[in-house]
Symmetry: D3
Subunit: 96 residues, 6 copies
């Protein structure tokens, strides 16, 4: 993000403003939104985004492995086995 | 699902068992998992699944439009404008 | 495809040639490849392509509803419930 | 899957039951369903799942490289060049 | 977008700012970015977004059907036949 | 592609013909089509295809980093943050 900030400051500003608008919802707390974020990226095959979302949820918000596993259960039902096993493997590597 | 139950009972039983295992998590309540489900299907271009998830969340669990809008904010950030506007349009039609 | 043939004949020719190369494989017969095609499009949220593939498989190759349901079982495992239920609903409507 | 079995046994049981229901179809044999599975995962950008499906198909069921290449032909037509070339590259690496 | 503007003004503002930052690039003109947008949404199975992007490109920027067809050629190569034929069908309906 | 050429020459020929038909459009130049290609692959989570498309655009057609960043702005709006940041990271690594 450093390069975006220095080279494309108007894009950086727009992302910052978007991020604020997204995570200051009317009804849900930040932790619930973060769990939703994990569900969305784990449902796609985006390994690096999934790992980043899981790590920040665990470090910033003390989200537990069991809570992430409960997110991945929903992924299993709605997006199938490959997304689920990939998500569980990423979680296991983070826990080591 | 009626046809699946009558014609493919072993698939129906497996889905029922899977559904139970998914929504009886260790840490998250049913409502949070349901919000995650809305986020996942709205992030894809699956209109009918999104509508179904939103309706059941609102009717079974009293999820409010503002709560769903907060889910869609996360969808906007992680999956872009088309998924967000489609989700908002579905929500608006349900509210009518 | 009529419009493509008249307005963009070089694209039409390329598609025809590609189609021939795809469905004259070395090892698998046309029916198996057609079942694979149904699995791929049903795994995505592409309703019109799924219906088209199912119809042509049933009419040209006498693929049975039970064979298509067996394709959709694999879709259930690898791509989740929404793709599976959508595929089963399309199959049911074709059978009517 | 070991961790899932020990930590989330009810999820593990549900997956086992689902797997049995999926691969004991009414009409198609296991090998055909396995080829469909390869087509589905290769159509997405899921490299690890594609490799796993190809390896187990080749080792458990004696699926040949030409048969997998015939699956990838369908992927080329329905999902485009990047999925096809990625699938061919994975196949080539397995064959070495 | 009216409802978003009235009910979630901070989200509306963030989207407006993002939109400005996106379409005031350093190097590419608006028309080229619009053609890229058509390519992206047509590559997914998002019919309504594809139609909206095509219409606004044709009405605001005088993009021609042949230019859109050239976008769809790239879609054919990178995302396969179903996305291409769906895009061509939408284009044909707009031209009527 | 060497292996495809030697082992599956009819597939190789079909791809060559398709490639020619795609990149010899009626209205758009090769560079514009190449930028569209980058937008499409960057919108998906296909890292290797994105890198390949960016590299060939920069080396064959002197596409600049600012032009690619303008493509990625459209990706940000239509496909969300994870695709955008992944695309920017790939671009940055190529520039090193």
């Amino acid at each position: 993000m450093k390069k975006i900030k220095s080279d494309y400051p108007e894009v950086y500003d727009a992302i910052t403003k978007l991020n604020d608008a997204v995570f200051n919802g009317k009804a849900l707390d930040y932790k619930t939104q973060k769990l939703i974020a994990i569900g969305i990226v784990a449902s796609r095959c985006d390994q690096s985004a999934t790992e980043k979302q899981m790590r920040s949820a665990m470090h910033e918000l003390n989200v537990t492995p069991d809570e992430i596993a409960d997110v991945l259960r929903v992924v299993l039902l709605l997006s199938g086995m490959p997304s689920f096993t990939k998500g569980m493997r990423i979680l296991e590597e983070i826990e080591k």
